[in-house]
């Protein structure tokens, strides 16, 4: 309560509150004014009714700004980044694509490392955000996060990226306490033919892609692809330019439509490359490689129920001069969704994941114990979606029970409500409890920081904690969506999350001859904020989408601790995510052959990362001289020669500057 009052009383907050309240009132005013207008225009007689077939085919139509069906019916803060959004943003890697979504914080640390968070959880580990590529989790139990440098696909093959802000733990899988990023690639039937593209530029030196899609009859489609790139270093104030890197990747996807009820998908990738990093004064190159194979069987029954069974194997190897890790992950998931009478949609399912892994110590300074381990997560969930009053109200109750090798059992329940007020407006609200399971590092890392006293000999040690617990969150959230006019769609979401047991570092304690700093769970606090995301198509040839996101992070420590890292202290939690974010994407069809696109971003300062507020502007000019050819000219981060997005983790160093960049991309496609 006191926090709430303080929140309202503080001048900057009350200012923001007034703006937000004004925006809501304004939206409500437009809503009442324009819904009537909209209704009456929709209800009046159809002006084109009496045209002939031929005339109908010549009528220019307004495309209603409609979000995909699933968005309208989801009681969660979901945002969909479409293939068109990706293509026209000019982004060349997955992490940069995510910048398009409201409430998602992306900071490029150097050429191959990103910090990603959702709603105030930005960290260099991208912790508590579950990232899935075609149903395969790319989360690593080593540090409970994502290695972005090995997550890649042909960006042209992405059908859409669904971003769910807020706890989405029930159906999606473990460690989705702050959000889910679900990258879904196109079906093989949608990528038939040949595609070749080459890109050259000052930072993205070279990127070459080739793909072939074929079929054996209409029920068996496949594609194979290859991709490789060389990327230059970002801007280093100390001229250490260590971060130029390269990667090659190849893979396939096959979709077999066995009969009208059964579908089977098999897909896989392999990759290898160099990923340089820097720790303190020394730069080193990790050699990374891996591969994965996933099979998924979907069965659709006539009564509308579905059965879904998926299994995958994923192998990652990362070996460098300071450390190494090999990991094999085997995962099996199943889900059954059935209709229970007219009113209820019941889903239940389970997942088993084993991840045998080995940490390879390369220096006496750093180790993770035990060196070999098998991480596992077993989970089961049940969810009931109940529809009332002609499907206008939906109440969703669900719970997930999960067991992991680090902290045992966790229960994650959720209650969600959706109210479709009319065809143009819907409200939703939810309360969810979610956990982030501990990781190998939090339980078993050993860093020997050196001798701090010769007589008696005392060493400083940073140590993982076998008693480390799951990080817990309780999230309250709600949202409102409205189609204001057929051309303007607005989504407004608010949230308040309570966190407990967040990772911290304890005070040094003497254990034998070692002064030891243990990983602890002593930080708790809240994040509060909102996002407003309008989507407006003023003209057939002009589309605008954007968002404003605000988050206030308020943390406190329940025990005294040490501030020794880029994470794990009150200032780093509070000062590593931007309080304000503005994102605007404008897509302009100049003529049939030319496209002009702009992507603007504003991120407020990150004091804990020594990053000042910055603005970015990307421009893209696309030219289709013929159906098969496309030429794109892209300029990125045009406002300044370089800007900082995230700290290096070393307080004595300046961050690495993200450079102004330009590239040319030529694409050739031939349909079969």
């Amino acid at each position: 309560m006191r926090t709430l009052r303080r929140w309202f009383l503080s001048t900057s907050h009350s200012f923001i509150f007034v703006i937000a309240a004004g925006a809501v009132l304004f939206a409500a005013w437009i809503a009442t004014a324009s819904t009537d207008q909209l209704q009456s225009s929709l209800l009046s007689n159809n002006p084109v009714r009496d045209l002939t077939l031929e005339q109908l085919g010549d009528v220019q139509v307004t495309t209603v700004t409609k979000e995909p069906e699933e968005v309208w019916n989801t009681s969660a803060a979901i945002y969909v980044i479409t293939q068109e959004d990706i293509r026209r943003s000019g982004a060349t890697d997955i992490a940069d694509v995510l910048r398009l979504a409201p409430g998602v914080e992306v900071g490029r640390i150097d050429s191959n490392t990103w910090a990603v968070g959702i709603r105030g959880s930005e960290s260099n580990f991208s912790k508590a955000v579950l990232v899935l590529i075609d149903g395969r989790s790319v989360y690593t139990p080593l540090f409970a996060g994502v290695y972005w440098d090995v997550q890649d696909v042909l960006l042209e093959d992405i059908d859409r990226v669904e971003v769910i802000r807020g706890p989405g733990a029930i159906v999606w899988g473990p460690n989705a306490a702050d959000g889910v990023i679900n990258i879904i690639t196109k079906k093989a039937s949608e990528t038939q033919g040949v595609m070749v593209s080459v890109l050259g530029g000052n930072v993205d030196h070279t990127l070459a892609e080739a793909q072939y899609g074929g079929n054996r009859g209409e029920n068996f489609n496949y594609r194979v692809y290859g991709k490789g790139f060389l990327r230059g270093p970002e801007f280093h104030t100390d001229n250490k330019n260590f971060d130029d890197w390269n990667q090659a990747r190849g893979g396939f996807r096959a979709d077999w439509n066995i009969d009208s009820r059964n579908d089977f998908t098999l897909e896989g990738d392999m990759y290898g490359g160099d990923a340089p990093h820097e720790t303190g004064p020394s730069a080193f190159v990790d050699s990374v490689s891996g591969g994965n194979m996933l099979g998924r069987w979907t069965r659709t029954m006539d009564n509308g129920s579905n059965l879904y069974l998926q299994a995958y194997f994923d192998r990652t190897i990362r070996i460098g001069p300071l450390s190494g890790e090999t990991r094999n992950t085997i995962d099996i998931d199943f889900l059954h969704h059935l209709k229970f009478g007219d009113r209820q949609d019941v889903s239940y399912g389970g997942g088993l994941r084993w991840s045998p892994n080995r940490y390879i110590p390369k220096t006496p300074v750093l180790n993770v114990l035990p060196e070999t381990n098998t991480d596992h997560i077993y989970s089961a969930f049940l969810q009931d979606e109940i529809h009332f009053v002609d499907d206008r109200f939906t109440l969703t109750l669900g719970a997930k029970l999960q067991h992991n090798n680090f902290s045992g059992f966790d229960v994650q329940p959720t209650v969600r409500g959706l109210w479709k007020f009319n065809r143009h407006q819907s409200f939703w609200a939810a309360v969810t409890r979610a956990v982030t399971t501990p990781s190998r590092i939090e339980e078993g890392i050993q860093i020997n920081a050196g001798e701090i006293s010769a007589a008696p000999p005392i060493f400083l040690l940073v140590s993982g904690n076998p008693q480390f617990q799951s990080e817990k969150s309780l999230g309250y959230e709600g949202g409102y969506r409205q189609l204001l006019t057929p051309k303007l769609y607005v989504d407004l979401d608010v949230f308040h999350n309570n966190y407990d047991n967040l990772q911290s570092f304890g005070l040094p304690t003497l254990v034998g001859n070692d002064l030891t700093i243990f990983y602890e769970n002593a930080i708790a606090g809240t994040t509060t904020g909102f996002e407003i995301a309008p989507n407006w198509n003023p003209r057939q040839w002009w589309k605008l989408s954007g968002s404003y996101s605000y988050v206030d992070i308020d943390m406190h420590a329940n025990a005294l601790g040490s501030d020794i890292s880029s994470t794990g202290s009150v200032p780093t939690y509070e000062g590593s995510s931007p309080a304000h974010q503005v994102k605007i994407q404008s897509r302009f069809d100049i003529s049939k052959r030319f496209e002009f696109d702009q992507t603007y971003g504003y991120e407020s300062a990150l004091p804990a990362q020594k990053v000042r507020a910055y603005q970015t502007m990307d421009l893209r000019l696309g030219w289709n001289p013929r159906k098969e050819w496309n030429l794109s000219l892209v300029g990125q981060n045009l406002f300044q020669p370089y800007h900082f997005e995230w700290g290096t983790g070393d307080p004595s160093e300046l961050p690495i500057g993200i450079r102004r960049a330009a590239y040319v991309k030529l694409t050739w496609r031939a349909e079969r």
């Binding site: 929709l42 084109v48 109908l56 220019q60 139509v61 307004t62 069906e69 009820r261 045009l638 406002f639």
Partner: protein
Amino acid sequence: MNTTGGWLHSERKSLAARISRVRRFRNMIACFSSLLSLLLLIPVCSAQLTHPTEFQVESAYLYNFGKFVQWPPDRVQASDSLQICLLGKDPFGAILDSTVAGEKIDGRAITVRRLSTVDDSSSCGILFISSSEEARLNTVLAIAQRSGELTVSDIPHFAERGGTIGFVMQQGRIRFEVNRAAAVQSHLTLSSELLKVASKVINKPLRNGQP
């Protein structure tokens, strides 16, 4: 010595000038791009609803198709009115009802029905299949064809996948593709005018029709 020094000096000066030119150019780019953005972000306030929506046009098509299709005689007798049925999530709302209200084709009144399952479609003349039904499209098509309905949808590649008429969006206009083999399987006769206007006519029967 002197010449070399002079050359060096002038070279250095021209380098400095070049650098400042490059800087000015860079600043210009930054200024220009931000200015351009501002200009483009000025809302075009006169966004009026001059064009009809795709649903109005699709509704008009659905109504018009009835004039260019002949159903088998036993089907016509089965119901007094021509029923346009919507299967799955309804994208039209009141538009379709207002489009057909009071209209008649060959003396038959037109009624609109909304269905939750294809099993209730046996008296329908035209069946619009919503994109919400895409996952079970083959089953729906098999049942609809057996009972002689004109299947229409805006599901991508609908005609290609065994439906009779599929709406496609081309350059901001709604056109339609026709699958003649599917019409034959449904025992429907399509008028030549319909085929002439279609943006594409294909001949691809629904695979064996088993659900």
